[in-house]
C-alpha cells in the first residue's frame, strides 16, 4: 500500500490534496510527469500529474478534483490509509531551459500541475509571470505556492470575487500586448488551453500545454490516450503529456474525453447513493 501522510481539502471540498509515500517515484519524478493511482482491487487506474515531490521524505503530492466515482472514492481515503497501487513517474518531463520571459497560465486543478513547472522555470533563470484563474475566489488553489514559484502572480476569477474580473486569457492578452514573451505554459481545463493557444498563436509565442486524456496503462500500450498533434497521432502517456498547443486538436480531445460519460454518470450516482445510505446508518 502507498500510504497517505497528509490530506487537505480545497475549493470547498471539491479538490483534495494527498501527500503519498512513494520513495522510488519521489526520487525520480521531474516537473511535468504523472503517476497512475488505483485505490483498491476493483479500482480504476487514474492518471494524475504530480503537484510536487519531496525526495528526502519520499513523498509525492497529487491534487485532484472530485469529478466521478474514482475520484469520489479517492476522497474517502484518510491519512494512514492509502492507495493499493501507484505507478510512475510516467510521461516525458517538461523541457526546462533558460529562455528569457515565461508566462505560466493555470486554471482549476491545472494549477497543481503548473506549479512545479513554474518553479523550475524560475530556478532555470527565467523571468516567470504566473496567471491563475478560477470560477470564483473559493475555488482558487495554491495561491501562495504560485506566488513563491514565480516573479509576478496575476489572479483572475470569472465572477470578479477576487483578483481581476475575467478569464486568464484576458490577463495573458494584456501581457502579450505589453512585452515580448518567449514561452507560454498553459495547463487547465481543455477549453482554457484551447483559447490560450489560439491567442498565443496570434502573437506567435510558442505554447506548451499538458493533456490528460483517458488512458489505461500509461506506458504506451493501450493507445487510448491518442491525440492529434499537427495532424499526427501521438500518445499522451509516452510522447507527452506536454505538446505544442498550436498543433493540438483540442476539439477532438474534448470529444474523446466524453467517451465514457454515460458509464461515468451511472457509476458515480450508484457510488453516491451507497455513500449516502452508509452515512445514514
Amino acid at each position: 500500500m502507498f500510504k497517505i501522510v497528509k490530506r487537505e481539502e480545497m475549493s470547498q471540498g471539491t479538490v483534495v490534496l494527498n501527500e503519498i509515500e512513494a520513495p522510488l517515484i519521489a526520487k525520480k519524478a521531474k516537473p511535468g510527469q504523472f503517476v497512475i493511482l488505483k485505490a483498491n482491487e476493483n479500482g480504476e487506474r487514474i492518471p494524475l500529474t504530480m503537484a510536487y515531490t519531496d525526495p528526502e521524505r519520499g513523498i509525492i503530492a497529487v491534487i485532484y478534483q472530485v469529478v466521478g466515482k474514482s475520484t469520489a472514492l479517492f476522497k474517502t481515503l484518510n491519512v494512514g490509509e492509502g492507495y493499493q497501487d501507484v505507478i510512475g513517474p510516467l510521461g516525458k518531463p517538461t523541457h526546462i531551459e533558460k529562455l528569457g520571459k515565461v508566462v505560466c497560465v493555470g486554471g482549476g486543478t491545472g494549477v497543481a500541475v503548473l506549479h512545479p513547472i513554474t518553479r523550475a522555470m524560475k530556478q532555470a533563470g527565467n523571468h516567470v509571470i504566473a496567471i491563475i484563474g478560477a470560477r470564483t475566489k473559493d475555488l482558487l488553489i495554491l495561491e501562495e505556492f504560485m506566488k513563491s514559484a514565480s516573479h509576478e502572480l496575476h489572479i483572475c476569477t470569472d465572477d470578479g470575487s477576487y483578483g481581476r474580473h475575467g478569464f486568464v486569457t484576458h490577463a495573458l492578452k494584456d501581457i502579450l500586448d505589453k512585452e515580448k514573451v518567449d514561452l507560454v505554459v498553459a495547463i487547465g481545463p481543455v477549453p482554457m488551453m484551447k483559447f490560450v493557444s489560439k491567442l498565443t498563436k496570434e502573437y506567435n509565442v510558442p505554447t506548451l500545454v499538458s493533456l490528460n486524456p483517458i488512458m489505461v496503462d500509461g506506458t504506451g500500450m493501450c493507445g487510448g490516450c491518442r491525440v492529434s498533434v499537427g495532424g499526427k497521432n501521438q500518445f499522451a502517456c509516452v510522447d507527452g503529456p506536454e505538446f505544442d498547443g498550436h498543433q493540438v486538436d483540442f476539439d477532438e480531445l474534448m470529444m474523446r474525453l466524453q467517451a465514457y460519460c454515460e458509464e461515468e454518470k451511472m457509476c458515480h450516482n450508484e457510488f453516491c447513493m451507497l455513500e449516502e445510505s452508509w452515512h445514514k446508518k
Binding site: 480504476e44 510512475g88 496503462d217 500500450m221 467517451a259
Partner: protein
Amino acid sequence: MSVETTAKEKKQKKSRVQMPEQEPKVRARNFFEVPTGYTAEMSKEEASRCLQCKNPGCVEGCPVGVDIPGFIKLIHDGDFTKAIRHIWTMNSLPAVCGRVCPQESQCEGKCILAKKGEPVAIGNLERFAADWERANGTGALPPKAAPTGKKVAVVGAGPAGLTVAGDLIQKGHEVTVFEAFHKPGGVLLYGIPEFRLPKEIVAQEVNFLERLGVRVECNSVVGRTVTLDELFEQGYQAIFLGVGAGLPKFMNIPGENLVGILSANEYLTRANLMKAYLFPKVDTPIPRGKDVVVLGGGNVAMDSARTALRLGADRVRLVYRRSREEMPARAAEAHHAEEEGIEFFLLTNPVRYIGNEKGRLVGMECIKMELGEPDASGRRRPVAVKGSEFKIDCDLCIVAVGTGANPLLTSSTPDLKLNKWGYIDTEPASGKTMKKGVWAGGDIVTGSATVILAMGAGRIAANSMHAYLMRGW
C-alpha cells in the same frame, strides 16, 4: 505381423477423446472457460493412444522441449503427481500452455498419429495434469539447487520473464521480477480473455513461482521507476528483458480517433486485467457495442470478437484483408469464434471510419481485396479491387492488426542495440543483447508471436544467464 504392429494399429484406430465444451449459444454470453477439461478417466484413455515413440516428433516440435511421451506415460499409469512434476522440469507454466499453445503447428503437428488420423491431444493432457495438481495435488515443490548467492532481475512478468524466473530460481539464484502493471502475468493477464485462460490459473502459476522464492515487484516501470544501470548498482548481476511488444498499431485511415475505436490492447486490457466486463461492480468501464467490427485475423482479433459477443453485442463481424487460409489465428480459436456466431468478412479492408456529429463511430467504408503475388512473409499479398467500396454500420471497432516495439524501456537504455523496427537485437543462441549482463527474449525481440515462443526464448536466455553467473560472460 509382429505383436508390436498390432498394438500400434489398435492405438491408431482409437479416436481422440474430445474435451467437453460449453454449448456455443450458452458460452457466447458468459465469461466462463469454453472447454471444461478432461476427467481422470478421459485423460488415461487419451494417454493410452500415445505410441511412446523412440524418437518422438512431438518433443522436437515443443519450443521448450517437454518430455511429452514421458509425462503421457505417467498419466496413463495414473500417477498424476509425477506427471506434473515431470512437466515442471521443462515448463513452469503448464496450465497456461495446455490452453493457449498452437499445438496443431507444434507438438501435435509432429505426432506420428497425425499422419493417418488425429494426433494425441497433448495440450489437453498437459492441461489435465496441471489442473489435477491444482485441485488435488500435494503442492510439494520441485527440488531447488543450493543457493548460489547471485542476484537476477527479470523485467516483465509475462511468459518469457516467468520462464526465466522459474528456471533460474530452481538453479539456486535469487530472482526478482519487475512488472509495470499492478499484477503479474503480462499478456496472460491483460491479453488472453478469461474464457480462454481463467485469471485464477495465471495467479496460481505465479504463486507457484513465488512459493519457489521468486520475488515479484509490481508497479515497477523499468526505464522510469528504475533504470537498468540502477539495477546493476543495486547488486543484480544479470538482467532479462521480457517486456513484450505492446505498442498498438492502428490502420492510419481517416476517422481513427472517433469515439468507439479502440486498439485490441486497450479493449482486452479493460476487459481482462481491469475486469471491466463486471462494470459497474468494478470501476473501469468498457464500451458495449451492439454492432461490432473487429479488424484483423489473429488470436487477438478472435479474442476481441468473442469478448464483444459476451459483452452483449447483437452482431460481431471480423474484417480481415486476406483469406481464411492466411489467418494467423490458432485453428481452435477461429473454429470457436465461428461456432459462437462471429461473421468473417474475408478479403475485405477498411478504407475510412464514419462518425456522427458527436464524434462517435457509426460505420465504416470497406473495400474488397483479392490475393496477388506472395509477399516477403510468403503469403499472397492482398490487393484492393478498384471500385468495390461498400459501407457497413457499426458502433464499435476493435483494431487488432498487430503491435510494434514499445520504446519505453529501450529509449531509456541507449546502449541496447535495436533493429530497424525497434526490437532488441540479440544473439539467437543465447538471448544476449549488446549490453553486458543483459539478455532479452519474447515479443520485444521477435515482434508479436506466441506465449510458447516467448517461453522458449526465456529458456534459452535462462541457460545462458546461468552459465554467465557461474562462469562469466
